[in-house]
């Protein structure tokens, strides 16, 4: 009984996600290729500007930039669609009972898929540049990836119900994402900023995840694991708090839509 229920939940997530995917790319000339094209174009622009102007001496700058960008897109897209997910499915939610987390997770399927396609491109580039990260490094990288997804979901669980009541949230988040983009070590390494500012940068959860990802995949080193541990120790209670908040705020959500 329970087994059947949880299977059905995943079927529902996949069904909703599949419909979203079909809608997104139908009638589009290049279709699914946009998943690669969008980040690649932005990468080319940033790479052209920054690798020539500011970071000429930085070894493998382009690869660091590409890696940072891919992780960043994963974060920004997941949080954006996650936040909008409940509102955009208001038509269904008003007529049928569906657990809210199902709607939120199904909305993030597209960005997760896009991320994995982009990852393939990244690894092809890495091999072309003769960068071969070791197995422990790759495993660590996937821990970071799971954490990026984890913080994005946590954010969505908080903001998706909040967005129903406060419709400015998407505008605020759009601006904040711009700020966070420059506050994350994507186009520059953390070492390029003064130590005092570094501390502030680490308040942004993406800083650690992006910086450590660069260390494992491109420098093939093992970053400080105690920092990762602290990160996880903070992350887990916040994640459960977001689940609790979603459950609590679901109570009077539908009539406010």
């Amino acid at each position: 009984m329970n087994q059947k229920n949880s299977n059905h939940n995943w079927e529902m997530i996949w069904m909703l996600a599949k419909t979203d995917l079909k809608m997104r790319y139908q009638g589009s000339w290049l279709g699914i290729i946009w998943i690669f094209l969008k980040p690649l174009c932005i990468f080319l622009v940033l790479n052209f500007v920054f690798s020539h102007l500011f970071f000429k001496d930085n070894q493998n700058y382009s690869m660091r930039l590409l890696l940072g960008l891919i992780l960043w897109f994963f974060f920004s897209e997941t949080t954006t669609v996650g936040m909008n997910s409940l509102i955009s499915k208001a038509g269904i939610l008003k007529k049928i009972y569906i657990p809210k987390w199902i709607i939120i997770i199904s909305a993030t399927v597209h960005s997760a898929l896009a991320f994995f396609f982009n990852l393939i491109i990244l690894f092809l580039f890495l091999f072309a540049y003769k960068i071969y990260p070791g197995l422990p490094q790759i495993l660590l990288f996937f821990v970071y990836v799971i954490l990026v997804f984890g913080i994005s979901l946590t954010f969505s669980f908080f903001t998706a119900p909040l967005f129903v009541r406060l419709r400015d949230l998407n505008q605020i988040w759009e601006v904040l994402l711009q700020v966070l983009f420059y506050a994350s070590p994507i186009i520059y390494p953390v070492s390029a900023v003064p130590p005092k500012v570094q501390t502030i940068l680490y308040l942004n959860p993406m800083t650690l995840l992006i910086e450590h990802s660069k260390m494992v995949l491109i420098d093939n080193t093992v970053p400080r694991l105690d920092h990762l541990l602290i990160f996880i120790i903070i992350f887990i209670p916040v994640f459960f708090a977001s689940l609790w908040y979603l459950k609590k705020s679901s109570k009077n959500l539908i009539e406010n839509m």
Binding site: E11, M12, M15, T19, M23, L93, K95, I96, R165, I254
Partner: protein, 249 residues
């Protein structure tokens, strides 16, 4: 645990909606009107409603527009949470409130069967198994690969109804969904309806249609501005409802 013979038990359920006199959904509105106090109008949609529905019973809910019928169904379906009181449901409930939930006009009829079926609680395997029956019942086999936006409204309803009746559930919540399609399809729907009743399924039915309420109901609940006026024999519920209705006019 509730008695096994009871399908739905509703105890002292109340639900009110706060209707703000002016909406403040954005921060600007909130800041600008920070000093003036937010005023709400409270609308009591349901007040202290209690009843039990036995398994296999056909239970009708009647009342004027705005009497709380739909709110009650939405609470039974789990869409709304009651402010006070409790709901106990014994068995799988099918939210039949509206036909074709989640129907996407840009998708084909086939895709919509899968989408709508999944939302109604069917597993993929169950949909695959009853797919042919659903299509046959809807009489749309020639158009099933066509996008639903190209369907006539009658065709859309036929498709939706066909999916809905194949969502095998123990309790059905019906909100005036019987009058669909042309005369011959309606006759087919009534046939299905008869079979459902005979098969011992529990049905909660909301309607203005006196004929069907009288014909099918075992018991009826008459609601008036969120309060229970009468529960019991459908004839009496109907006559009370009709007399107050006439008195008002």
């Amino acid at each position: 645990m509730i008695n096994q013979d009871i399908a739905i038990k509703v105890e002292h359920v109340s639900k009110s909606f706060r209707i703000p006199q002016q909406r403040r959904n954005t921060i600007r509105e909130r800041i600008l009107s920070f000093s003036t106090k937010m005023t709400y109008e409270t609308f009591n949609a349901l007040e202290d409603v209690s009843f039990e529905i036995k398994k296999g019973e056909f239970f009708s809910i009647i009342g004027r527009n705005g009497s709380g019928k739909s709110t009650l169904l939405k609470i039974l379906a789990g869409i709304y949470t009651p402010d006070k009181g409790s709901i106990k449901v014994n068995g799988k409930i099918s939210p039949f409130l509206e036909l074709g939930v989640g129907f996407n006009p840009e998708l084909s009829g086939k895709d919509n069967i899968y989408l709508n079926g999944t939302l109604l609680g069917l597993t993929k395997k169950e949909i695959v198994n009853s797919y042919d029956k659903i299509v046959a019942f809807s009489e749309l086999d020639r158009f099933i690969h066509l996008k639903v936006k190209n369907y006539s409204s009658g065709m859309q309803v036929r498709l939706a109804f066909s999916v809905a009746i194949h969502a095998n559930k123990e309790i059905l919540l019906l909100d005036e969904v019987l009058a669909v399609g042309d005369a011959s399809f309606q006759a087919k729907c009534h046939q299905v309806f008869h079979n459902l009743i005979k098969s011992g399924i529990t049905i909660v039915y909301v309607s203005h249609d006196k004929v069907s309420v009288q014909k099918y109901s075992d018991r009826a609940l008459y609601l008036e501005s969120g309060k229970t006026v009468f529960i019991g024999k459908p004839e009496e519920a109907l006559s009370r409802y009709l007399s107050t209705d006439v008195a008002r006019e």
